[in-house]
Amino acid sequence: MEPLLQFWRRYRQNRGAVFGLAIVLTASAMALLAPWLFPGDPRRIAGAPYIAPFVTWQFPLGTDQLGRDIFVQLFYGARVSLLVGIAASLVTALIGCTIGALAGFYGGRLGALLMRGTEMFQTIPDIMLALVLVTILQASLLSVIISIAIVSWTTVARVTRAEFLKFRSQDFVLACVVMGMPSWRIIVSQIFPNVLPPIVVMTSIIAAGAILAESSLSFLGLGDPNSVSWGMMTGAGRSVFRNAWYVSGIPGLAILMAVLGINLVSDGLNDALNPRRRER
């Protein structure tokens, strides 16, 4: 409990981060409460198309081109967008950390091989991979998440590898080797906790990026048509941007706020987790 409180005290010093946390918590609350507040299909046609926001209490944020309630969709969209953000960043972190840790810890031929592989992935345009995946797996949340993870893990792998390289030759790691600790244990229990802060920060940035990326994929028609996400709403509303800005404008604002919030939180985490910054 005590370390957590300490952590919070350090985190609290960054006012932007507190603001960001408030945004993220709000979005999470929206996501959690959506089915309870608005039971039923959020995509059902509820009224006339193109009702502007703040005109009627029934549809506080208006309706889209099929007369679906934007307010309700915004709540449900939070579920999918946050899910995409969290899932994509976790998968990214998992792949990136594993490969980066192996490459950094073992080095040598295995490390070189892994890094060549990483480099290769970096040269293939993201969109190609995304397209291949989406066409193979069909446009679904899963394929969107995997697509985003597959194109972003390389960065995490590189950072993880660099960190592991840094720590691998440190004396405390050598001490563990000398005492006969198995490699996997050294990786997991000794080096990893030290590498965690930059990865946590990076993962949160990737989560924010994933929410943006999902909107880009939707823009290109590669999103999941059966679930309502902020990216999907923004992408779909783009064609009526000039006539009914709110159809894509409101979910776009939600994306902006969420991405901003997550980035602020990651800044706060960076400050709070960075030992050097602590003494300030």
């Binding site: 099929l66 007369g67 779909a236 000039r242």
Partner: protein, 530 residues
């Protein structure tokens, strides 16, 4: 035309809204020469060598360079372009065309009957992906002299579809330049030389295509325009903005979204025309996979049809520029069967039908689940609507979005679909493109936009046989009407809406001679008001 995008863009002259301007009734003004016409197109064409192309884009651009024998007029009659006169044998197996005098290609060589036969039989039939079907019955041509060509058909074909086909898909190219090996890979196809009023100047890929005035055109004063520039603008929003910023003079085949069109049409300098694509617009329909047990029951198909509020689609998706469809042929076509019933929304009756058919709602409120395969911007929105509509009758819809190639492979090769949203375009005559959806002989794995529903009905097949070979217009009309009646009864395809396509112009553009396939005319008499 044949492309989904075009077809999407096509609509009818229903003119449901009063604000859609019409250019047909333009009062005659004295044409003036000069000026550059800037036309927005949505993509790079595959090539500009239209004799081997079938896409609307390729044909729109190519038709200014390569001309056809004749063209379709608004009253569904034909007018000669390269042909001076034509006649056909009473059994419909021989069509004779006599060419005009004094027609030369851009390189100065005269256009002869040999070029016509070459273009249709060598280029069109072999390399035009559409041609092998289109000209399937056209096996040879007699060339009694340099001005006469007689096409011989193995099977009789009624004059309207045959002439219509030549009007749209029969551009004539010089044999002496294009009788080359490997034409698809031959750089020669990027140097188009035709007989039209405009000459190819340059193609800046993904940016623009420029055509210059042909000074030696047979009509001395024509063409009036000095230059046509096709600007490639892929984003519909950007096209709308380009109209607003006066960077574009014209756009054909629904260049802007319906929502944007409404806003743009209110600008004082913009005119909207809804008649220029009449012969090529179509109907949106749900293809129903009858291989699936639930869907093989006509009651289920009827129930789905009843769950759909077509007026809602017209308003929500097409901003009112569409009308509920009643059959596969548009209600403004002279082949339309007026006795077809209106397809009204009736959720209660639909639920009853489904109960009767033996598919009661389960514990979770669903009777069964259907995949919905839309493809394309507007169709995707329709797909979302269909999902909501069938939810009202206890059918769980699952939308599957895939890119064009995958989509068509799913529908037409793998038959892996339940409901597919498809545009059934008329393409001058339904014989060219509509009947295949209903004809059991058109069930052909891997062939797109044919019978994927597995609908087999002898009565229907017979009616189609008659319609495709009856030379007598009345006899043919009766058969076509019968097709529509059977189609409405069996519902292998569930018609949704017939929507309006439009061409958008700056008001200074004067179209000259209009017609129901205006984008494919040679635009020799179009001009710009000073």
């Amino acid at each position: 035309m044949i492309s989904r995008r075009t077809v999407l863009a096509m609509g009818g002259g229903l003119s449901l809204l009063p604000w859609v301007g019409r250019l047909v009734a333009q009062e005659a003004k004295q044409p003036s020469s000069g000026g550059v016409l800037r036309v927005a197109v949505y993509d790079d064409p595959r090539s500009i060598f239209s004799p081997i192309e079938t896409g609307d884009l390729e044909l729109t651009i190519g038709s200014k360079i390569f001309e056809t024998l004749l063209r379709l007029k608004a009253d569904n009659s034909f007018e000669g372009v390269l042909a001076e006169s034509w006649k056909y044998s009473p059994d419909g197996t021989q069509y004779e065309f006599r060419l005009r005098d004094g027609i030369h290609f851009h390189d100065g060589k005269p256009l002869t009957s040999e070029d016509v036969a070459f273009s249709i039989l060598q280029l069109g039939k072999k390399y035009n992906a559409f041609g092998s079907t289109l000209f399937a019955n056209v096996t040879s041509a007699d060339l009694p002299d340099a001005k006469t060509v007689v096409f011989k058909l193995t099977k009789p074909m009624p004059p309207f579809p045959f002439l219509g086909m030549l009007a749209a898909f029969g551009p004539i190219a010089p044999k002496h330049l294009y009788d080359v090996a490997d034409i698809l890979k031959n750089p020669q196809i990027n140097k188009p030389v035709g007989s039209g009023p405009f000459r190819f100047k340059e193609w800046n890929r993904s940016s623009s295509i420029v055509l210059d005035r042909n000074p030696d055109f047979r009509e001395k004063a024509q063409p009036y325009l000095d230059q046509i520039v096709f600007r490639i603008i892929t984003d519909p929003g950007a096209r709308a903005a380009a109209f607003e910023a006066d960077e574009i003079d014209a756009g054909v085949n629904s260049p802007v979204s319906k929502a944007d069109l409404k806003r743009i049409s209110e600008l004082p300098f913009i005119a909207v025309d809804a008649t220029g694509n009449k012969a090529t617009e179509g109907v949106n329909a749900l293809e129903v996979n009858l291989r699936r047990k639930e869907l093989s029951d006509v009651r289920v198909r009827r129930a789905i049809s009843m769950a759909i509020d077509r007026a809602f689609i017209c308003n929500a998706v097409y901003s009112g520029m569409a009308a509920p469809a009643r059959g596969p042929i548009r209600s403004d076509s002279f082949l339309f069967e007026p006795a077809l019933p209106e397809l009204a929304l009736n959720v209660e009756e639909a639920n009853k039908l489904l109960d009767e058919a033996g598919y009661p709602k389960g514990a979770d409120g669903w009777r069964f689940t259907l995949n919905i395969d839309p493809n394309g911007d507007d169709l995707n929105v329709i797909g979302e609507y269909i999902k909501q509509a069938i939810a009202n009758i206890g059918i769980n819809g699952n939308i599957i979005v895939s890119d064009y190639a995958t989509h068509n492979a799913r529908i037409y090769t793998d038959y892996d679909f339940d409901l597919s949203i498809q545009v059934i375009s008329t393409l001058v005559d339904p014989q060219i493109s509509v009947f295949d959806y209903y004809w059991s002989k058109a069930i052909s794995k891997g062939r797109w936009q044919t019978n994927a529903t597995d609908y087999r009905n002898e009565e229907m097949d017979k009616a189609i046989d008659v319609a495709e070979s009856a030379i007598d217009a009345d006899q043919r009309l009766a058969a076509v009407r019968q097709i529509q009646t059977i189609a409405a009864r069996d519902l292998p395809l569930i018609p949704l809406v017939e929507y309006e396509s439009h061409n958008v112009f700056n008001k200074r553009v004067q179209l000259g001679s209009t017609g129901p396939v205006w984008p494919l005319q040679n635009w020799a008499d179009a001009w710009l008001e000073k």
